[in-house]
Amino acid sequence: MTTATPTVAVGTQETNVPRTTAGRVRKRLNSRTATLVSIVIAMVWTIPTFGLLVSSFRPEDEIKTTGWWTAFTNPQFTLENYQQVLFGRSSSSGQLAGSFINSLAITIPSVLFPMAFACLAAYALAWINFRGRDWLYIAIFALQIVPLQMALVPLLKFFSTGVTLGGVTLMPAWDLVDEQKFAQVWFAHTCFALPFAVFLLHNFISQLPGDLMEAARVDGATHPKIFRTIVLPLITPALAAFGIFQFLWVWNDLLVALIFAGGGDETAPLTVKLAEMAGTRGNEWQRLTAGAFVSIVVPLVVFLSLQRFFVRGLLAGSVKG
């Protein structure tokens, strides 16, 4: 190894370093083009959001008559749009403050439930010996590919009419009204999240050192004890990764909320309200721009502050799969 390195290094100087001026220019040009292309891509990816952000602070007349880029030559900024869209009482304003609370009320339990259940299941699938364990894991893993569209119609029926088998009511209808409908959304999100959650957490839990478990078993610790005192503290990063994933997914979800929460003021989260505004008041840009930013701000903060965990989860979830 040590003897080989110098000879190769000599070879480098002869072949690789561009000696001629033309070679040097070409190399610089290459990196120039590279920089230029990456800057162009970065701009295309940023400018639309930036334009929306600038617009959300412009007065209504300005937004509707001039492009947001004119705001740099003729700056007029106001917080009126946010005031309107969050707290306005007129029916067209959106009243997004209420929807913001709805989004929170939907998201928090929808993250906690699958996290806890999947964590328990993943531990059992990784470290408890029982017959059919591998098959069960494969089955849960395979459920990831079932699109949630496959479950929507029957699940909604399940909530609205309950379960009867041969005339016997096994479960009555839930009959939920107003804010009680949150429970339906929690239930649906929990079910849909479980296959991926079990898969992701199993990836982490099964890689914990087996010696540790063995030692604890020898000391007489039972599975629940090992789970609580050894596994849980060790997989906190994985839990964080899943938590962020699920948080972003639920907060940004439209379909499940649309079906199980409905469009009423009592339950509709931000996404449902915004989609509705975009459909019926598509030209009220002063409200749409501000509204979009209200919905973006929370996931953005979560994302930026916890990006490390998110990326780790992403890589564990996709590459290992």
């Binding site: 190769v8 480098t12 690789n16 290459n30 590279a34 990456s38 891509i41 970065a42 990816w45 639309p48 959001t49 334009g51 617009s55 509707k64 001039t66 492009g67 209420g98 929170l104 928090i108 339990p109 439930f113 806890a116 259940f117 059992a124 699938l125 010996n129 029982f130 017959r131 849960i140 459920l143 590919i145 079932v146 699109p147 569209q149 496959m150 479950a151 929507l152 119609v153 399940f158 239930f187 849909f192 479980l194 039972t222 599975h223 789970f227 972003l248 439209l254 915004l274 989609a275 975009a278 459909g279 919905s295 953005l300 994302f303 930026l304 990326v311 992403l314 890589l315 996709s318 590459v319």
Partner: protein, 348 residues
């Protein structure tokens, strides 16, 4: 102009109920898991004492206890998956063979409808265009960007810029791009795209009304969101290429171009496949963008949005379910392809 906080209290109360339920369920389960083994341990101790007194050997049955534990750990997950996913999926398959109100069996008529009704054929074609374009273009941009900013000076910031749309909801992204596509009949344009067209001397257009261009413009939104995902995964794969391979190639004097095609590409092939497959599945199910931007009008509908319309707006459970089943069927070959690839990788 007033916001009444009192209106929000029932929601917060409901949220509290939810959290209390969470603590009760999970706490109760953990408590149960502690009590049960303690009880078993006590019984076993008693047996041991009895055995030592009478001198008979003790039958060992640890297997059974393990199974019992597993059952408790898995119970909530299995219950929820059965109620929320497995049974509904089977029911949807059955519903797809029934009529709109789910009373009469109609055989495969709903599937026949799908391929004979011209508007639904259009939906299938649109979905195909989505599935062909989004994974390829998003992966392409992600890959180019990952290669270009690799080891650049502001790599972290540069990556965050592309990655950021991942945090934005599809609804938010649709509004962002709808604003780019915005059109005004007279006066200054307020949409960036029309402004560019006008400044280049063209006529402004109502972009989202013109088929088939509007479908492509909606696809742009999806690419904009997903390129960040591709970029992050591929960037990690590029960084995982062993340094000595890269070094050896460099010493052999390969050009950056050769380096990319002969070293980088083969090394990141597995990650590339994962990204394309993941994006393909995500694209198949795309709903929010179409719903927010055009509501599926002007020939932009895709399977997932049509499924929603049929089942939840027109009350056609049979046709909606059939569309859901098609969605599932389309996902299967993609997944099989990925599994085969993984297996090859492991063997090779």
């Amino acid at each position: 102009m007033e916001f009444d906080f009192a209106d929000e209290q029932p929601k917060l109360l409901m949220l509290m109920y939810g959290l209390v339920a969470f603590v009760l369920v999970v706490g109760g389960l953990l408590l149960l898991l502690d009590v049960v083994p303690a009880w078993f341990a006590r019984r076993r101790e008693a047996q041991l004492v009895a055995a030592s007194v009478s001198g008979t050997p003790l039958a060992r049955r640890p297997k059974q206890r393990e199974g019992l534990f597993a059952l408790f750990f898995l119970l909530p997950t299995l219950l929820l998956l059965t109620i929320g996913l497995v049974v509904p999926a089977i029911r949807t398959t059955l519903l797809s063979l029934m009529d709109g109100s789910s009373t009469n069996w109609v055989g495969l008529r709903n599937y026949g409808w799908m391929f004979s009704d011209s508007s639904i054929v259009r939906v299938l074609i649109n979905t195909l265009v989505w599935v062909l374009l989004v994974p390829l273009v998003a992966t392409g941009f992600g890959l180019i960007y990952a290669v270009l900013v690799d080891k650049a000076r502001f790599e972290a910031v540069a990556k965050s810029l592309i990655f950021l749309p991942m945090a934005i909801s599809f609804v938010g992204a649709s509004i962002i791009w709808k604003f780019v596509y915005a059109y005004r009949g007279e006066g200054d344009q307020i949409g960036l795209l029309n402004q560019i067209v006008v400044s280049l001397g063209g006529e402004p257009k109502q972009w989202l009304l013109e088929s088939p261009l509007n479908t492509l413009l909606l696809i742009v939104i999806m690419i904009w969101i997903q390129a960040g995902f591709a970029m992050v995964v591929l960037s990690a794969a590029i960084k995982a290429i062993p340094g000595d391979i890269v070094e050896a190639a460099r010493l052999d004097g390969v050009s950056p171009w050769q380096m990319f095609w002969q070293i980088t590409m083969p090394s990141i092939r597995p990650a590339l496949i994962v990204v394309v497959v993941t994006l393909t599945i995500a694209t198949l199910k795309v709903f929010d963008i179409v719903r927010t931007s055009t509501n599926g009008n002007y020939d932009t509908s895709v399977i997932a949005s049509e499924m929603y319309n049929q089942a939840f707006r027109y009350g056609q459970n049979g046709q909606g379910s059939a569309l859901a089943v098609i969605l599932f069927v389309l996902v299967i070959p993609v997944v099989i392809y990925q599994i085969r690839n993984l297996r090859q990788q492991r063997e090779g």
